[in-house]
Amino acid sequence: MTNEGVDHLLGTATAINWASDTINARLVASSATVNKDDTVMTPHTKIGTDQTLANKTKTKDTTNDRIVYTNTVDITWTAVAAGSTIGTVTIFKQVTNDADSIPICSIDVTDTPTNGSDIKLTPHADGLFYLQQ
């Protein structure tokens, strides 16, 4: 998770409202250099079209002492052009452009070459990401 994203989720900086803000998912090229200190989306080289999460939930898991953030349905990118390799998926708050949009977390996936097919990400049962005590 990015420090900037957590800062906003916790409301220390301008709070991210998970329910009402525009939260997107981006397929990011394996060649991109991304890290937890990123404050904007510029380094997160885009593959295909960013997808807006339309079924977001935030739940309090008292058993595991977590706040779990997820999307309750699969996230689908349609007919992603061939010739790229996906290395990570970034969840971010969309503002106006890459230079002011806020990366929340970068989810590692198996390096996946695109071939023109649809790409579907199934959120894990434990969420896309969580904050843990």
Binding site: V6, A79, A82, I107, G116, H124, Q132
Partner: protein, 121 residues
């Protein structure tokens, strides 16, 4: 991925020999689909003189090739631009043309099933 490409030329009411029109269009398409863009197969080639109503020469050329809009969008844009230039140069600005690309067999969906990431406070 296999895509079907349909090139249509409607050159209006000019009485150009259809044989020449066909040869020119055919040559254009054949030259456009060269390696390394995969196999190309001509599945229809049709030129006809519609003398019944509007007296127009029409020409249609259909190929199936292992390249398409989801495989190489830049190639599609390039072919369309060259096709329009080719038609305009060959038959004049009055000629109309159209290119359609239809994906015939989309590869199967790729599933990503990552583990969640976390922040420990």
């Amino acid at each position: 991925m296999i895509s079907r490409w349909t090139f249509t030329v409607n050159e209006g009411a000019r009485h150009a020999p259809i044989k020449i029109v066909s040869q020119q269009a055919s040559e254009f398409v054949r030259q456009s689909f060269t390696m390394p863009f995969g196999k190309m197969q001509v599945i229809e080639q049709q030129g006809f003189f519609d003398g019944s109503t509007v007296l127009e020469w029409r020409y249609r050329f259909v190929v199936e090739a292992e390249v398409g809009p989801t495989h190489d969008p830049a190639f599609v844009t390039s072919i369309e631009r060259r096709f329009r230039m080719f038609v305009e140069r060959g038959w004049g600005a009055h000629a109309r043309c159209k290119m359609d690309v239809e994906v015939l067999n989309q590869p199967p969906t790729i599933f990503l099933t990552p583990e969640p990431v976390s922040w420990n406070g």
